[in-house]
Symmetry: C2
Subunit: 343 residues, 2 copies
């Protein structure tokens, strides 16, 4: 039985769900993987940080977050002054990076992941930013350190997409894909089908925590473009930026258009499409009217879907229904297990 | 570069598609996997057999099959007297078993796979029979010989289902699944929606090679039950027989029922459902009326779908569109690559 030490940067909904999931899977990990673990450090932006080489008291950490206390009370050791100092000092074999991310630069997540890899930790993240901004650099650094940079949860939460192509589809050549990758706009279009105005739909989505205070990244198709760029970069091996996506958001979709589609038995969806042509890729994010014969038609609420076209399989689709912080946390756990069982 | 020797038992549509796919991927296998190969033996029921330790002339073998010739003309060596003798004598590291199978006993495929494993070959098959009749025995024998028994193509052709659970979904607990696993009945129900009678639909499906001369295994839900049993046995770890499935075929679906569903915007589908309850499983195959909000609604023609419910992911669906002997062949290739790259 090998004991692993884990460090968590970011301890919001996803980080907390990961801590609970790890605890719940403790027996399974011991039995099926010969793995035990302790969480040796947690760093947050607003709730302090704590390091304990003997393992932090996770239930106490979860309670502190609930009550708005500071994590630094968890450990007698002096708390690090910054997240970078935390990463330099925390004794850990893997870093889970879930800090708030700036998708325009990928920072500070990129620096966190780099520092972790430099110290010989596996670097695992649910942040899209580092994948579109530093995939090549982080992957090469990981290889040089004989560690892994993994990011399953960045696209379709915990659904296995990157790991599917890494493992289950050897020698397959990805020619293109089509899908619904942004949960927020899919929910908004569904709310508009129920008769709400665009603004009402946005307010409702904000009230249940699906839309951001400034929802433009979702509504204008940026989030979908980032995810499309991540899939292209990683799975087609062609470095691709979100700005290269021919992008149109859902602001152009009027209640009248929704109604007309419904009368024809169809639905508006924000569709991502990518198609490879030699060394080039054309990618597009735009609203499309979808007939009921398409698998995209039945993707409701915050669910998502992607369909891959390969030389060896003309159509392989993956649906993820009812995502939550728990499913994102599972993607992180799966990445970690895949990293350590390959070693 | 390691050279692998491959033996093929069964050289019908799937075996031939595999031979062509291997040839087409020769460069990719060398570049990405450091693998070269030759096909050292092919055995058929009605077109003879041939073994050549230096590798058979595959284009010539394909031409012989097309022209109705005998494979034994391919090699100067005397042809083996039986398939078992072929397996005993063919110098090979992997056996691809695609002989016609009796799903009631799994024979002769089970004996072929056993003989191959005993000789230290990987045993790979697209036959469902051996999975439901001898999964445990063949898997244990493979482990004892440090080889693999793999069968991705038995359910949903080349779509990664078993390999997904083996690799990309560590520590996940499968609670149940629901899907459309039989292509033939799905096609028949679609033809009935176009206004054909049941008998007309069957005749058409027979004319394009989708329905068998005796189509009862598909129509009465046996094929779907066998696939459900295979998923349960392998992915839930509970030995389960097709006879244990609560099974109803599509003969009960009348043109009138099809019409009524269409008028309500719904479709009849032959649905497999399985649900785990402790150490027990309830499984059912039966026609169900599906509304357009379900992912099952859009599964057309010979496409298939399965949706998994796990403790860590509430809904993960996999769609396979437009299967063919080529997609089945890819499942076999993927199994082989996964077997040898793990070694």
């Amino acid at each position: 039985m090998r004991e692993h030490k884990l460090a968590l940067v970011g301890f919001g909904n996803v980080g907390q769900a990961l801590a609970r999931l790890l605890e719940r899977k403790r027996e399974t990990l011991a039995r099926d993987f010969g793995i035990s673990f302790k969480i040796t450090g947690i760093a947050t932006g607003r709730h302090g940080m704590a390091i304990d080489p003997d393992g932090l008291d996770v239930p106490a950490a979860l309670a502190l977050m609930k009550n708005g206390g500071s994590l630094k009370t968890l450990s007698a050791a002096p708390a690090p002054g910054s997240v970078m100092e935390f990463i330099q000092n925390c004794p850990a074999d893997a870093l889970f990076e879930n800090s708030p991310v700036n998708v325009e630069s990928g920072q500070p997540a990129v620096d966190h992941l780099k520092a972790a890899l430099e110290r010989g930790m596996h670097a695992i993240t649910a942040n899209k930013g580092p994948v579109v901004h530093a995939y090549k650099e982080l992957t090469e650094l990981a290889a040089a350190k004989q560690r892994r940079f993994l990011f399953e949860s960045t696209v379709m939460d915990g659904a296995p997409i990157f790991s599917l192509f890494r493992g289950a589809l050897p020698a397959a050549e990805l020619r293109g894909f089509k899908g619904i990758l942004n949960s927020c706009t899919n929910l908004l279009l569904g709310l508009m089908e129920e008769g709400r105005s665009f603004d009402e739909a946005v307010r409702y989505a904000q009230s249940i925590g699906i839309a951001e205070t400034d929802p433009s990244a979702d509504i204008d198709g940026w989030d979908a473009s980032i995810k499309a760029a991540a899939l292209i970069t990683v799975m087609m091996g062609i470095s691709f930026k979100p700005q290269q996506v021919d992008r149109q958001g859902i602001r152009v979709v009027t209640p009248q258009m929704i109604k007309e589609a419904q009368q024809a038995g169809e639905r508006w969806k924000l569709v991502c499409t990518a198609r490879r042509d030699g060394d080039k890729v054309m990618a597009r994010v735009a609203p499309e009217r979808i007939p009921p014969g398409s698998p995209l038609f039945s993707i409701n609420g915050t669910s998502s879907y992607v369909q891959f076209e390969m030389d060896v399989l003309p159509g392989l689709g993956v649906v993820e229904s009812d995502p939550s912080p728990e499913t994102t946390a599972y993607g992180l756990l799966a990445d970690w297990l895949n990293a350590v069982r390959d070693m």
